[in-house]
């Protein structure tokens, strides 16, 4: 039975999601929305990992990798949001344009 597995659709979807997340990170200036864009990018990578694992199902390494990515993304969100809160305490805003002391 020669059933085709359309891995291209999954990878295209992951690429589109990653592109949207990257654009969001680059053009938005709200720290919260930038963090959400990072989550979008991590999720897109997870989709491609699981899809490639489905194409080569002898091992489950891709799914285990995606599991670790989810765990690290949770840690990243916790630390990132703590930084956003201290930025808000300091500046009374979460716009990243207000935190530019190190630029000059």
């Amino acid at each position: 039975m020669a059933v085709e597995f359309p891995i291209g659709i999954y990878i295209a979807l992951a690429s589109a999601l990653f592109g949207i997340g990257a654009v969001g990170f680059l053009i938005r200036r709200n720290a919260l929305i930038q963090l959400m864009s990072i989550e979008l990018m991590l999720n897109a990578v997870n989709v491609s990992l699981v899809a490639f694992n489905r194409a080569h199902p002898e091992t489950q390494a891709g799914q285990v990798f995606a599991f670790f990515v989810i765990a690290v993304a949770a840690a990243e969100a916790a630390v990132g949001l703590a930084i956003v809160i201290s930025l808000y305490r300091l500046k009374q805003t979460v716009e990243t344009d207000s935190a530019d002391e190190l630029r000059y």
Binding site: A16, I27, N30, A61, V64
Partner: protein, 204 residues
């Protein structure tokens, strides 16, 4: 690929794309968080269409249950309706990054979308709690333990960064800042005095 899986893929894929666009384009952070939630639930459907049942559940529990709720908590803390005037600052780099990143993503999408591979038979325990658990606790036992250390460090780090100052510490910091300013003023006066002396003696 079976028809139900295909339908699940198309529906969740469209929802995921819509949620991602909503997250990036939202005016208010709370709407962005809700759109992110849509995206995450749709991604869990995509994992289901890939026979990754355990990951679909983990995605729902960790992302929808923990990360999005954390985002909403922080949005509520910093003010959900905070309106920021739109600025034209950095318009050129932002437009450039938008165009370039869209081009890269579109090239990737159209480069791979028609690729298909012969479907392989799945092992019995593929993607189940049992199958993934066996791999996690045999081949990936050390990384698994390291992830628990990472999470502990992240918790401690988040507490340390987000804690803020106690009233006592705030007072001490204020006193230190005042002392620093006083010292700066004294040094400035001293320098002025010296330079006045030097110029009074003809600069030699």
């Amino acid at each position: 690929m079976s028809t139900p899986n295909m339908v699940l893929l198309i529906v969740s894929g469209l929802l995921a794309l819509g949620g991602a666009l909503g997250t990036v384009a939202a005016n208010r952070p709370l709407r962005a968080a809700v759109a992110l939630l849509v995206n995450i639930v749709a991604l869990s459907g995509i994992f289901l269409s890939l026979h990754a049942q355990f990951l679909a559940m983990v995605q729902l529990i960790v992302y929808a249950g923990a990360v999005v709720v954390l985002f909403v908590f922080v949005i509520m803390m910093v003010g959900a309706t905070e309106k920021v005037p739109r600025t034209l600052r950095g318009l050129t780099p932002r437009t450039l990054s938008l165009v370039l990143m869209s081009l890269v993503a579109l090239m990737l999408v159209f480069g791979v979308v028609y690729v298909a591979m012969p479907a392989q038979d799945l092992p019995e325990d593929y993607g189940t709690v049992m199958g993934l658990g066996a791999v996690l606790f045999t081949q990936a036992a050390l990384p698994f333990e390291m992830v628990s250390i990472t999470l502990t460090v992240a918790i401690v780090g988040a507490l340390a960064v987000g804690r803020g100052r106690t009233p006592k510490e705030a007072e001490a910091a204020k006193a230190a800042e005042a002392a620093r300013q006083l010292e700066g003023a004294e040094r400035l006066a001293e320098e002025r005095r010296i330079s006045a002396e030097v110029s009074a003696h003809g600069g030699h």
